[in-house]
């Protein structure tokens, strides 16, 4: 058994699945970062991912075109974010409570809508298979012995994370919109006093969050699995929120942390197949890691602030 672990093939497949598992986490954390920079601790990332993965999957059953499916998923993500923005900005709903309820609501919808459309047994997963993204073989790189096996052959959405991460960083830190957004997030009142349309900026940030998260949702139902079940996001949205908290809203750092979480996820998967270890204990690991990470970083943050005050 141990021999098998240290062989190259094992390491390569492990590193491959690290990237694969990190992809939805990167999308989730990018969405959370946009919301966080605009001053909202958006716990509804989970709901957004779930609803868009469902819409993507359902659309692909009716219109077998993957681009249309992704677009539909993005529209669904935006609509959910708009609803959230309406609740927050217009009705001033309690943020935590709304997001939590939105998560339960979408879980309910995720069971109800596929049933209403396709029938089948109540409450179980959707019986129809979804279209899936093909794996992309990158020319040249795929021929490099070890690296090719790890980096090549992923979903197009995995490669898109590089673009999305850069875009998110660019929008937040290099555009005037990003500056306004950060100002509105840091201190809405003073932002308003210098003439920033805080509501407009926040609304746009919600829409951006919706778009980014729905790509993560598409990855879940159209590549990670080729069907849809109500429990498929499995807390990845929350982990994304934690990652954005851990990194203080910095996109590139978030990618690194997402890779660490992806590694923990992948470890749980590979150890399960390699050793005869109870899967349940391994499956706890990403969640325990999140708790420890959140605690550690919050603690350091408090310490840092105390130091600043002491000066």
């Amino acid at each position: 058994m141990f021999k098998e672990v240290i062989t190259g093939a094992f390491v390569i497949s492990f590193l491959y699945s690290v990237i694969r598992m990190a992809t939805p986490l990167i999308y989730a954390s990018m969405g959370a970062i946009i919301s966080k920079q605009a001053g909202t601790n958006n716990l509804a990332i989970e709901a957004t991912m779930l609803i868009s993965s469902m819409v993507g999957c359902i659309t692909s059953v009716y219109i077998p075109n993957i681009l249309v499916a992704v677009l539909a998923a993005i529209v669904a993500g935006i609509l959910l974010s708009l609803f959230l923005a309406f609740m927050f900005l217009k009705l001033e709903a309690n943020c935590t409570m709304t997001c939590i309820s939105l998560n339960t609501m979408t879980t309910g919808l995720a069971m109800f809508i596929p049933f209403a459309l396709f029938g089948g047994s109540k409450g179980s997963s959707m019986g129809k298979a979804s279209l899936t993204f093909p794996s992309v073989q990158i020319p040249l790189i795929k021929d490099i012995p070890v690296l090719g096996n790890i980096v090549s052959g992923h979903c197009i959405l995995t490669y898109l994370t590089i673009v999305v991460t850069f875009l998110v960083w660019f929008i937040i830190f290099r555009t005037s919109f990003g500056l306004r957004m950060r100002a509105a997030g840091e201190n809405p009142d003073s932002a308003m006093s210098v003439g920033i349309d805080v509501y407009g900026v926040k609304l746009k940030s919600f829409i951006l969050t919706g778009i980014v998260c729905s790509l993560g949702g598409c990855f879940m139902s159209m590549y990670y699995l080729s069907w849809f079940t109500a429990g498929m996001v499995a807390g990845r949205g929350f982990i994304g929120v934690s990652i954005s908290n851990l990194t203080g809203g910095k996109p590139f750092m978030a990618v690194l942390v997402a890779l660490v979480f992806g590694a923990i996820d992948a470890m749980a998967l590979t150890f399960q197949s390699a050793f005869n270890f109870p899967a349940e204990i391994l499956q706890m690991m990403p969640y325990i890691a999140t708790i420890i990470g959140v605690t550690l970083v919050s603690h350091l943050e408090v310490k840092r602030k105390q130091k600043l005050l002491a000066k």
């Binding site: 601790n41 716990l43 609740m87 009705l91 409570m97 939105l102 109800f112 969640y287 408090v302």
Partner: protein, 364 residues
């Protein structure tokens, strides 16, 4: 000059504004669900019959409402205890589940005389639940970690912990499904109403309501909890140990959820065979929000939700609408109740009118 009836109505509206707001939230949620049902069901009449009157149609179904009220009351109390001090510690769901898991371990491994056995199990599960609830709360107090994120992550951890206990500690290999052996008779709660599964756990729930009511109303601790929840700074300034108060209320909340799990598994299932979270923690959230953290109102809300759930279960089995729709309904109610500004404009207008009138009288 002014219509006295209209005047009176306005007074009633202003003073019972919260109740009206909840009513409006419930109405909005029900209307949305009605539209969904009309769109998807072939027989909306049957759906509304089973949903509204279904639970009253037989003794067994009416009993089902009370059976379900037991965990709902305990979870509602649990969440309201935790929320009372403004900590969104949402781990009741996971605690309820491991309460069931640990209760089954104790029921199968210990051997005690009847009556004493369930009591011991309930106390042990209460302690386990209370200590578990302290994890997110103390991480928040000590390290300033987000209590919501920690609690939600903890729910997943507890789910896998419970499943681990089920599969590796209590699983009866003779069974074709994943389940423990049936508990010994001494470790179960008696069903005392014929034709139903209403069990003695209902007394535990009632006792919990009364004790919490008493603690909140007439003890020093309850006072400290209420003041801390209303204004933490004021509590600190008045010499209340805020951190300790928060921890105690989280412990009590967790203990209630643990008791809920233990009572449920000993009363209803009498074996452990559930491999996922039941979502009662989130039902507790709705109950606590509607019940405004008051134990007696929480009880009413819990029974009402149990009625709703029983109706939904009947709709699920007799019509073409699945059970999950009630989950959508529930969360919509919470969202609209949480919306502070819902109807606030109307309230504002009425208060302005009222005060203008009062001012006018003074001038004359």
């Amino acid at each position: 000059m002014c219509d006295p009836l209209k005047e009176k109505m306005r007074r009633i509206f202003i003073y019972n504004f919260e109740a009206f707001r909840i009513l409006v939230a419930i109405t909005i949620a029900f209307s949305v669900i009605a539209v969904l049902v009309l769109l998807t069901s072939d027989d909306a009449g049957a759906v509304s019959y089973w949903f509204i009157l279904g639970p009253l149609t037989s003794m067994r179904r009416l009993g089902g409402v009370l059976e379900l009220s037991i965990p709902f009351i305990l979870c509602g109390l649990s969440v309201s205890m935790m929320f009372q001090v403004n900590k969104f510690n949402l781990c009741s769901d996971g605690i309820f589940y491991i309460g069931m898991a640990f209760a089954s371990v104790f029921a199968l491994k210990l051997d005690l005389p009847p009556v004493l056995f369930p009591i011991v199990i309930i106390v042990l599960c209460a302690v386990i639940g209370g200590l578990t609830a302290l994890i997110p709360a103390s991480l928040n107090l000590k390290f300033n970690a987000s209590v919501v994120v920690c609690a939600l992550m903890l729910n997943y951890v507890l789910q896998y912990l419970g499943r681990y206990i089920l599969l590796y500690k209590v699983k009866d290999p003779a069974l074709t499904y994943n389940g423990s052996a049936i508990f010994p008779k001494a470790a179960t709660l008696t069903h005392f109403v014929p034709k139903t599964r209403i069990h003695t756990g209902i007394f535990v729930a009632i006792a919990a309501v009364l004790i919490i009511y008493w603690v909140l109303r007439s003890t020093k601790l309850g006072f400290a909890i209420r003041i801390t929840g209303k204004n933490e700074d004021f509590a600190k300034a008045s010499g209340i140990n805020v951190a300790l108060t928060v921890l105690v209320s989280q412990f009590i909340g967790g203990a209630l959820a643990g008791i809920g799990g233990a009572v449920e598994v000993m009363g209803i299932y009498q074996q452990f065979r559930i491999d996922t979270l039941l979502g009662y923690g989130f039902d507790g959230l709705l109950i606590a929000v509607i019940g405004k953290n008051d134990p007696l109102r929480v009880t009413v809300a819990a029974v009402a939700l149990a009625y709703l759930r029983q109706g939904a279960a009947l709709v699920n089995s007799y019509t073409d609408i699945p059970l999950e729709l009630v989950q959508v309904l529930q969360s919509m109610i919470v969202i609209f109740v949480a919306a502070e500004q819902l109807m606030a404009g109307l309230k504002h207008k009425m208060i302005v009118e009222e005060s203008e009138k009062a001012g006018g009288v003074q001038h004359v």
